[in-house]
């Protein structure tokens, strides 16, 4: 455990030089950014909470929740998160960039699957008339789910960009630090999803 205890950030293996110091500052800055995002999501959750009853005679939680689909989405996102952590491990222990890339692509595919499922769900909502224009409740639902989906999509772009960088430059210190930050983002989004499936979908039909 001693090696781990010396390493400022467990996702990397950078030693102590200037690069490690820079990475530490970058990762800390990214944490602060995540916290602003957490507040943002938290507030949208709170607004959703105030609007649960505001269905205005339109479709309510029962109509918009397809638990099977939500379960699959949850599994996909959790799998994606897990694959990402495996990618970080391969990176940390220098298992070669091939392995890192493979796990990254697992993570990305899984997240893409999540987005596709979510898209199908939302399209279904449009079909049954549960558009965000229908009621305050649906506005809040779409905003919350959409905001999370957008975050996942941006994360996918990030994986794309990082994959290119790894192929071009290999796992340099700078890129390692970026992978670490993207990993934090990725796991953070999974946490938000835990909130969404529990409080929006499951609690809605409980």
């Amino acid at each position: 455990m001693s090696a781990k205890a010396q390493n400022a950030h467990p996702g990397m293996n950078l030693g102590y030089g200037e690069g490690a110091r820079k990475a530490e500052v970058d990762v800390f800055g990214f944490w602060v950014f995540l916290m602003t995002d957490l507040v943002t999501f938290g507030l949208v959750f709170a607004i959703f909470g105030t609007m649960v009853g505001a269905t205005a005679g339109g479709p309510g939680p029962e109509e918009v929740t397809d638990l099977r689909s939500i379960a699959i989405q949850t599994a996909l996102l959790l799998g994606s998160s897990f694959a990402f952590s495996w990618a970080s491990l391969s990176m940390k222990y220098d298992r070669g960039r091939g392995r890192t890339l493979i796990f990254l692509s697992f993570a990305a595919t899984s997240a893409l699957g999540f987005l596709v499922m979510e898209f199908i769900d939302l399209r279904h909502l449009v079909e049954i008339g549960a558009t965000p224009q229908r009621s305050g409740y649906l506005s809040a639902l779409w905003a919350l789910v959409g905001l999370h989906g957008l975050h996942v999509a941006v994360g996918l772009l990030g994986v794309g960009s990082l994959t290119g960088q790894i192929l071009l430059y290999g796992l340099t210190d700078k890129i390692k630090s970026r992978v670490t930050r993207l990993g934090l983002y990725w796991h953070f989004l999974d946490i938000v999803w835990v909130g969404i499936f529990s409080m929006v979908y499951l609690a809605g039909v409980a």
Binding site: M35, F45, T50, S81, L89, Y93, L184, V194, L202
Partner: protein, 103 residues
């Protein structure tokens, strides 16, 4: 994977435990709703507790938040954020619920 160091193996184990715990907690959440085994009014508190537990698991395992010294800054940041978010979130729900009641 015989070439894996002890440390690497330990970390893999940690991640796997995290995954298993998450799966168990998720299944429990879904089961709470689909089976309806809990009496009325208990399901939502149960869901909240399960979700919070799962979030703590994720933070510990995937985001490496722990009580060791070098992580203290991140932990403090997180706790401070949660404090402010709690103030804002509960404040909002309190005010808006009260307004709705008095409408």
């Amino acid at each position: 994977m015989s070439d894996a160091s002890d440390e690497e193996r330990a970390e893999r184990r940690l991640y796997s435990i995290g995954l298993i715990l998450s799966v168990v907690l998720t299944v429990a959440s879904f089961a709470t709703v689909t089976t309806g085994i809990l009496p009325r009014g208990w399901a939502i508190p149960a869901l909240i507790v399960l979700a919070l537990t799962q979030i703590v698991v994720h933070l510990r395992v995937f985001l490496h938040i722990d009580l060791t010294r070098q992580k203290r800054e991140d932990l403090q940041l997180l706790l401070f954020t949660v404090l402010l978010l709690a103030i804002m979130g509960f404040g909002t729900l309190w005010i808006m619920a009260n307004l709705a009641e008095r409408m």
